[in-house]
Amino acid sequence: MSDVNWRLAMRSLKRDLRAADVRALFMALVLAVAASTMIAFFLDRLERGLERQAGQMLGGDLVLEQRDPFSDELRATLRDAGFTLSDQIDLVSMISRGDRFQPASLKAVDDVYPHYGTSYVDFGDGTEQVASGPPPGEAWADPRLIELIEIELGDQVQVGQTELTVTGIIEREADQSSGFGSFNPRLMLNTADIDATGLVQEGSRVEFEILAAGPPAALDEVQALLAELRREGVEVRDVRVDRPQLGNALQRAESYLGLAGLAAVLLAGVAVAMSTRRYVERHLDTAALLRCFGASQRQLVTIFSLQLIGLALVASTIGALLGLIGQALLIWLLVSFLPMTLPPPGLMPLGLGVFTALAVLVGFAGPTLLRIKQVSALKVLRRELDPLPPSAWLVVGVAGVVFGGLLWLYSGSLPLAIALLIGGALLLGLLWVISALLLSGLLRVVKRFSGRSEWSQALRLGGRQLARRRQAGLGQLLAFSVTFFAMAMIVLVRGDLLTTWQDQLPDNTPNYFAINIQPSERDAFEAAISPRVETQSTLYPMVRGRIVAINDQSPRDAVPPDARGDNSLRRELNLTWQAELPEGNEVVAGEWFSAEQSGDEESQGWMSAVESTPQQTTQQTAPVPISVEDGLAERLGLSIGDEMTFSVGSDEITTQITSLRSLNWDSFRPNFFVIFPPGVLEQFGHSYITAFHLPEAEDGLIRELISDFPGVSLLNVDAILGQVRDVLTQVTRAVELVLALVLLAGVSVLYAALTASRPVRAHESGLLRVFGAGSRMISRVQGAEYALLGFASGLMGAVLAELATAALYIYLLDLAPRFHLGLWVLLPVGGALLIGVIGHALSRGLRRQAPAASLGLLGEA
């Protein structure tokens, strides 16, 4: 029997392909699947791309670091999990050439180095990309070291007890894991030479690192081991946690794409719901006849469900193919940012696409389709015996639950999905009421049009037609306003995202950092750069200090176990003092230093908190107020009121956290974890740091600075900046592609809705014609009706979009909300035009028909 149903279903589907509602349904499903698979594919690959990139910046997918050599047992465990290992040793040592001495930051790498990416090295014939470190016996130096001890390529330098030949100038290292951690110039050598240097001895300050590269599964496998290592005080950097600084912008882009995908799915769902309604109405006669010929209720439901499922399968195949092409296009747009060797697209997004299509079908078409089951065979004798349409609440309810499920699936957050769903339901109820009020108001206004011109007459008549079908009109109004709302929101959010990104990295974003400026050089340095650079951040004083106690406990005992290996506990922190909150920082808890705390130094009780020996630190001295970065506070489990003791030089300073700050790490300005008020750290040895934007024309300044201020380190961040900008440009293009898809989904809703109301309008125009109205008149009346509908929907859409974008900015995208005046003009006028034109064009054929034909059309074709 099921074979019969299948054949019957497929046969009638083939016949049905000519029908406008089936085409609308098909198009909507294709769009829903295309949008969701494209975005799922893309996000999946983007995620993997980001991880790869993070891996490149870290030097591996997993980096372990400690003061002692790692055990062979640990290496074996990591290898068994599927990692490839590379060893690295970091230390600071004096190197020399002739009578020139210079402390340098040594980095010894093995033959596996680097896991990812390439280094940029100049061997004398311009910069080359190299995927290895120096061979034994050789070393590569950075330009600063070359300058400082006047090395030529081929020269020998003394490193500990051995001599190495400098064969390359290293412009950029494949991994940037060291960052600004060390201010000394770099010398890279091979691990094979380390023993010969005799620098690694008991008690020497050496960092041993294992750089491990491996698949995500390997990382999963060793999570327990990593937690254990963290507790033992090993610094663990995991590619999933230690993301590159591009994070913020891309995360927003991901949120946006996810949102856009859902908007497309929702719009397609609305289109599916509207086309199904028409589809079912059109098939009630068929269903009644089939009942008459002996089909059971179940058979009817099976036949029509099979038809729709068949349609959905074909649509999802086409949609998935489009999604695949679309994601390939997205990847192509982003190719210079993504790593070259991406794994092929997985099957998961494909499954997701098909699942989405079926879910949309079940949710948005299911209750309506069940109406077919209720058809009585008696309808063949008494045509008026149509089964009642399912209650609007049931349709909206089921669609809501299914859409909520999709929200959950896509966002991965159940509370968010539930909140959005409840919000949506409340909004819909409110919308219904406002729509009803708006429609009556508008119709009342139109009624007053007393002009005798054809247009006022058309508006009056159109308004009256709309008023007569109030319920149907309300339904369409609701669908159109949701459509306009979703379209407007996607456009608005895109615009604001782009503006925010551009604001975030303006053309004059600092591209150089200057570090290690001595107090005596400070004024001269500032005078040298000020006239020639475009933007310059404050010159921040910087003092190195180590956290030695938290709330009178040793830091390792005071912090959560997982944070024991945290960088901030193992290294000296850069401390600064400021009276004013630095630009781009925001106090999120507690209060910034009062004028009293940072102004009148003499009267401050906490001055005495600085003692020359820890033993003399007494209880009665008030601790120094400090401001801590909120991320660090969270990692170390710190809150307002906690005490931290820092060792600076040979002294200890007891402090108390009085404020937590959030700051923008993407800002390309100096940022600090801990800020003191003025009056405490000045007495310690300090240097200054600043960032500035150097225009290309002033390139010569750098050479002058290097020779005038040899002790100052200049770091060029143009490459990183360029990379971030590239990503933003490319992500913008991706966003635009997705935007086009959402707009297309919006048009499919309009098409479906207008198709659905075609027969009713055909009937009306037939009647008008019978009563003697000419084509022109009918055309104007219909145009006016559509335009009124479009205007009201546009207005509603504007209300919704304004409210929703405000909520989105605050809660999801973390941006400040803005008011969009253009929206309130564009949407109603655009809505009137769009609906007017599409509706008018769709009913053109109807107006040409003889009245008999159009009157007969009602309830048939």
């Binding site: 046969r11 089909a295 058979q299 004798l381």
Partner: protein, 230 residues
Amino acid sequence: MYADKLSKQVTSGERSLTILHDLSLNVAAGESVAILGKSGAGKSTLLGLLAGLDTPSDGELTLFGQALSRLDEDGRAALRAGRVGFVFQNFQLLPTLSALENVMLPLELSPRAGETQTAAQWLERVGLGERVDHLPKQLSGGEQQRVAVARAFVTDPELVFADEPTGNLDPDTGAQVIDLLFTLNREAGTTLILVTHDHALARRCDRCLRLDHGKLEPFEPAALNAEESQ
């Protein structure tokens, strides 16, 4: 087919209206019966009950030896499948289906070999062999009803119900359709139950009944003649 004391009441609001009251009817296999009555007498309601499309408020109907009251909606539908044919006043052809596809529809529910050929042969028999691919709207009223007749007979049914088959046709066309209906009925030996107010049509049946105030009364052909001449 045997109907015993059928009653049908419908309630609209608080008022209850009796359409059929204690109505009994016995139709033998191969017999043709015409049911006459004024507009609103309940003819279509009776036809709906007899075909099992609707359920009586009271009484029992036995079709093909099965008591319909023991069957649910789906059971009654299954009983009809392939054994009952219908011809309607408004043809009830599906507008998106061609003539051939419309005729095939009942065959598709109870599949057998050569559906397309069978349907085409039936269209040939009703004189529409050349119009198989035409959509209903490309056919005249008479042609549409001939398609409907072919559809009613295509499954070789034991029983055919016709509801005002000439109601929407002009007299000449109506007469042609009636000739066709009775010819096919005679050839196939089918039982025919026909509801009409066309006396000429009723006269061609073996037996005539009149529905009046919810009851069926036998009619003589002579009385029909007299009534017709008034």
